[in-house]
């Protein structure tokens, strides 16, 4: 049983939803980034980790700003691999990479997935590689025993969902809004409908991200039957003012993440 299976089996048994924050690896710098991840992991059922990229077209301004901060602090894919290695000493929750195609391609597709596995990564999502281009990426993932994670959006029709579900492993990442990442006011009704439809179509865990920003959203998703909720931009924005005061950040995170944790029960 892999870490995803273990986590989601437990979640389903406890009749709750997995809380899976997204952060950019090495934001605001490699040292602080690692400390923040260790802290966030304590309150989380899984982690999404973005590899900073110069042109993150699927992301909104908050994540792009985090990418830029990390890149300015000298974060490279190597450094994020190293961060995961360190993090793995302290946590056993599943870790998923969110990485743009060019960073995978430049490292060598096979090598990227192998290195990710060695570092302790469980799943890899390449947001700018849709099903049509995914052949080599999925193959490399399978060779390396990494779960290829796929996006499904409210605009993905049933026929297409069927094809994606044939390739996807680990969990399905449901994009809750048409658009890029970034905090939103509410969960759209068609996202709820998509969760319900997908429950009929697959046994894979259904994790919702993009725009999920409050404990209330997490609760709504739990009620709709989703297996996980990803909170990214809202968390990053919340932390930004406290990067220079780690003690205070720790205290703040406890309250902030605690509320999400509670909503997931």
């Amino acid at each position: 049983m892999d870490r995803f299976q273990r986590t989601f089996e437990k979640i389903r048994k406890e009749k709750r939803i997995a809380f899976m924050p997204f952060l950019v690896g090495g934001d605001p710098n490699p040292e602080k980034g690692l400390e923040i991840l260790k802290e966030v992991a304590k309150y989380s059922d899984g982690l999404e980790l973005g590899l900073p990229f110069s042109d993150p077209v699927a992301d909104g301004p908050t994540v792009q700003a985090a990418d830029t901060r990390a890149l300015k602090a000298g974060v490279t894919p190597d450094k994020v691999f190293e961060i995961v290695k360190q993090l793995r000493k302290e946590t056993d929750i599943p870790i998923t990479f969110l990485v743009y195609a060019n960073l995978v391609y430049q490292r060598g597709i096979e090598k990227f997935y192998k290195d990710a596995k060695i570092a302790g990564v469980d799943g890899v999502l390449v947001p700018d590689v849709p099903l049509e281009e995914s052949g080599q990426f999925v193959q490399a993932a399978k060779h390396a025993d990494i779960r290829p994670i796929f996006l499904i959006t409210p605009a993905t029709n049933k026929e297409r969902r069927k094809k994606i579900l044939r390739e996807a492993e680990g969990f399905i990442y449901i994009v809750s809004v048409l658009g890029v990442t970034g905090a939103r006011a509410e969960v759209e009704p068609r996202t709820i409908q998509l969760v319900k439809n997908l429950k009929q179509e697959t046994d894979l865990p259904l994790v919702v991200g993009f725009g999920i920003s409050t404990p209330e959203h997490v609760k709504t998703l739990r009620m709709a039957g989703a297996d996980g909720a990803i909170v990214g931009s809202a968390l990053i924005k919340y932390m930004e003012p406290y990067y220079k005061t780690p003690k205070e950040l720790q205290k703040k995170l406890k309250a902030y993440l605690g509320a999400f944790q509670k909503a997931s029960l």
């Binding site: 042109d55 890149l71 430049q106 700018d128």
Partner: protein, 395 residues
């Protein structure tokens, strides 16, 4: 080299590297693009627009003074600068805006570097009654002010982009994000032979009118095919538009000219084929200027329209198959060519096109007098006067 025969590929280059959210829109576009331009009604309307509105065919002008001064091959200028809005960009903008209208879209968005595509998109939107938003990096807004004013006059909304290098690359990022959000109502009017399939072939096909006209015109004037075609290559739409019609004519040599900026060694340039390697950006696999791990590099060129880290995938393929040769001209060479053409022929070229003229200045001299060169004068230079004046002051 691994050949990929899949849809949307030119050899190993091309593809559809976009988030899942855009796949539905790309499929809708592909389907519409396969169907609509074949309809008689569309054909007629598009031909009329090109002829009576854009002013096509543009002349093929024998540059007598230039030829004489260079003392070698006979040089012809394909006068895209005389097309409505002052550059070749109008061909593609009218084609795509008309397609958008036939698809029932009310709003088009576009990215622009030099502002020529933004102006063309705003123009096409105005004449066809569509709403138009144009993304433009703040550095480009600064250096291409006349075009910003023109877009506004044409009723378009110019959205400044502050992120990243604040140039064309970042304008494309923002346009893609906008499209992802508004995919159901909005048509993305991409301005170069770049991006995910079907854009590279669609833009090329709308621009191929340049080469078709040039071929007919040179056969009339010279009773034979040219020996060389020369065009500048940013994303690559004016060059592919000229080259495409001649690709099967093996006697015709073709040269694409990239922006050499301050020179390749300086790292401050946009010559993807001299300083780049294969990579994936903005929906396509092609040549890219990037660092060791794959972060996209900031580029430099005196010409905003060539200041982009990627190049259309078909160009990567034409280079790989050695059908087209790619070289570069530096800022300095382009500026010299800008003045040279202005003074010898009374034609002020766009700084983009001046890169192609710079190559012709090197090439024509080396060739005997019976050889023929056609250079694509892709745009006029009025928009660049601010840059030129600035350079003279600092020179």
């Amino acid at each position: 080299m691994k050949i990929n025969n899949r849809k949307g590929y030119f050899g190993p280059y091309g593809g559809q590297f976009v988030p899942e959210t855009l796949m539905g829109a790309l499929q809708e576009l592909e389907e519409a693009y396969k169907r609509v331009p074949k309809e008689q009604k569309f054909k007629k309307e598009f031909e009329e627009l090109l002829k009576d509105y854009a002013g096509r065919p543009t002349p093929l002008y024998f540059a007598k003074n230039l030829t004489k001064k260079l003392g070698g091959a006979r040089v012809y200028l394909k006068r895209e600068d005389l097309a409505h809005t002052g550059a070749h960009k109008i061909n593609n903008a009218l084609g795509q805006a008309l397609l958008a209208k036939y698809m029932g879209k009310k709003r088009v968005i576009a990215e622009t570097g030099a502002g020529q595509h933004g102006v063309a998109a705003a123009t096409a939107a105005a004449v066809l009654g569509l709403q138009c938003d144009v993304y433009m990096g703040t550095i480009d807004i600064e250096r291409q002010k006349p075009n910003v004013l023109r877009m506004k006059l044409l009723g378009a909304n110019v959205i400044p982009v502050e992120a990243g290098s604040k140039t064309l690359k970042d304008a494309i990022n923002e346009a893609l994000r906008d499209w992802t959000k508004n995919v159901e109502t909005t048509y993305y009017l991409l301005g170069s032979a770049l991006g995910p399939h079907p854009y590279p072939s669609m833009v090329r096909n709308f621009q191929s009118v340049i080469g078709k006209e040039a071929k007919k015109q040179v056969l009339e004037k010279e009773k034979r095919l040219p020996d060389y075609l020369v065009a500048c290559v940013g994303g690559g739409s004016n060059s592919i538009g000229l080259f495409h019609e001649f690709l099967k004519d093996s006697s015709v040599k073709m040269i694409g000219v990239e922006a050499g900026g301050h020179g390749i060694a300086s790292g401050k340039h946009a010559a993807r084929f001299s300083g780049g390697r294969e990579g994936i950006l903005h929906g396509t696999k092609s040549y890219l200027l990037q660092d060791k791990v794959g972060q996209i590099m900031e580029t430099h060129s005196v010409s905003a329209g060539l200041d982009y880290p990627g190049v259309g995938p078909e160009h990567a393929y034409l280079r790989e198959t050695k059908r087209v040769t790619y070289t570069f001209a530096t800022d300095k060479e382009a500026l010299e060519a800008f003045h040279f053409l202005s003074e010898t022929e009374g034609i002020i070229p766009a700084l983009e096109s001046a890169h192609a003229i710079a190559e012709v200045m090197k090439l024509a001299k080396k060739l005997p007098k019976n050889k023929i060169i056609i250079v694509n004068l892709s745009g006029r230079g009025d928009k660049d006067l601010g840059i030129i004046v600035g350079k003279e002051i600092y020179a």
